[in-house]
């Protein structure tokens, strides 16, 4: 099926991005409410047909829910919506006039090999922050992956080429907002940051924490090159934006409230990042999943 079709859903790109004029990825989220595991007895409601009564406002308030736990009380945790919308509009203006043109030129002028090398290099530079957060989350396997990637890619080609993925060490990102989230700290409230885009109180604080975790911060201070080092987040922001030009256009095309759409996408994606994509723990069905021809009886 079409990749663009799924881009629409693909928050990885979506959330990282938007107006993140500079640094990638923000932080935040919460959906404790999204309780995937708890199946409710809601299948009857789901087979509603045209013959069903429509006006039944007095009935239970999640009778029409596809998701147990997503009911009328579920909201987007956005008490700061008015200032957030204002900053969102500001970011969007900035995107139209500065970031998107810069990203388009970047993509047009540089061949993809060079752009990938730049991204690999920047990711490699960010290793300490990812590694420390892996460790803070007790994710030792992922920490090992991060370390292995650094060793392989640095020694193999100064971080310009990603040899490690071929060796089975795929890239992942971590930040302090995710670490807080993994400790069960809620997002506080949704927050749109100028330049950086969607975030939350928790993740905004995490972002500051990450600055202190980054050795480059101290390198900048010692050698007095802090201004020059701003090129790193700047290029990173342009690179990420350049990889999401069509995705964002598609996303906005049929939107009737872009702010609300981005808020929801970002919050869900953030939760997924905190869970490291493991909020679904399905049991694998023998026979089907690996396309064997045998159907093995299932226990229980």
């Amino acid at each position: 099926m079409s990749s663009r079709f799924f881009n629409w859903l693909n928050a990885k790109r979506v959330a990282v991005l938007l107006f993140t004029a500079v640094l990638a990825g923000g932080c935040a989220t919460q959906p404790d409410q999204i309780v995937w595991q708890t199946g409710g007895a809601i299948s009857q409601e789901l087979s509603l047909t045209a013959s069903v009564q429509y006006a039944q406002a007095s009935s239970g308030n999640d009778s029409d829910s596809l998701y147990p736990g997503i009911d009328d009380d579920y909201d987007e945790n956005d008490p700061l919506e008015i200032p957030n919308r204002f900053i969102f509009a500001f970011n969007q203006t900035l995107d139209v006039f500065v970031l998107k043109p810069a990203a388009s030129s970047y993509r047009f002028l540089l061949p993809s090999v060079i752009r990938d090398a730049i991204r690999n290099f920047l990711r490699n530079l960010a290793t300490p922050v990812v590694l420390i957060n892996d460790l803070l989350q007790g994710e030792f396997e992922r920490a090992e992956t991060t370390l292995a990637r650094f060793a392989i890619n640095t020694s193999g080609g100064l971080g310009l080429y990603d040899f490690a993925t071929g060796e089975g060490y795929e890239y992942h990102k971590e930040d302090m907002g995710q670490t807080f989230g993994s400790y069960g700290i809620g997002e506080g409230a949704y927050l749109v940051l100028p330049l950086f885009g969607p975030s939350s109180i928790r993740d905004g604080i995490g972002r500051i924490g990450d600055i202190f975790l980054d050795p480059l911060t101290y390198v900048g201070q010692i050698y007095d090159v802090e201004t020059e080092l701003l090129a790193i987040p700047l290029v990173n922001g342009i690179d990420i934006r350049s990889r999401n030009i069509e995705t964002l256009e598609d996303l906005e095309a049929d939107s009737i409230d872009f702010y609300a759409r981005i808020r929801s996408l970002w919050r869900q994606n953030r939760q997924n990042e905190i869970d490291n994509g493991r909020n679904e723990k399905p049991t694998v069905t023998p026979g089907l999943s690996n396309f064997d021809f045998e159907i093995e009886p299932k226990d229980g």
Partner: protein, 224 residues
Amino acid sequence: MDNLAVHNSFTAARRTALRLGLLGLLAVAALSGLAAPVRANSEDAAGAFMLSLTSRSIAKLTNTSVPEEERKVRFRQLFRESFDISAIGRFVLGRYGRSATKPAMEDFLATFEDVMVERFAPQFAGYGDTRFEIESIRKLENSQQYIVGSSITPPDTGNKIRIDWRLSHNNEGFTVLDIVGEGVSMALTLRAEYGSVLKSSGGKVDQLTALLRERIGTQAAAAN
């Protein structure tokens, strides 16, 4: 022409669909008398449904020689057959759907279907080589819902995307309730967006419908 392209284009999905067909036969045989474990079979049936849906989508929608209007017609047909539009529509309206009048609701559901067609149908063109794999299937406890975990690898980027399909099962078979890409739910996102619009317009579903109409109208015009 059509068949040829289809034959050339989808490989993995087709092969798995064939295997699945076999599995399906086995499952039927098992159910009709052999008293095999029903639960496992119902999960397999959910997987069979998904493979059938994806292979039909690839066969009918990805061929670039199909005219855009025809692609939309085909997509609409698949969408109606395979998605529970009524349940999804109702979910995305949330509380506001329950106080909507019957005509307003019908009008919304018809418009919602148009929105989905305009949005997604054009995007299938040329993506016949996309690789689709089922990675897990799970029935939710105390529910007739299933989650089929899959990965999709588009030919252009080669980056795997994780997609979970939320299915509902009743006597007539399976229907799709939601598509969740990398942890992001389509239904939930639309519910959030539409809810925000409805909230600011005093909960009037008619107004939302009009806004959506306007949106797809301009979109269709822009595409031409």
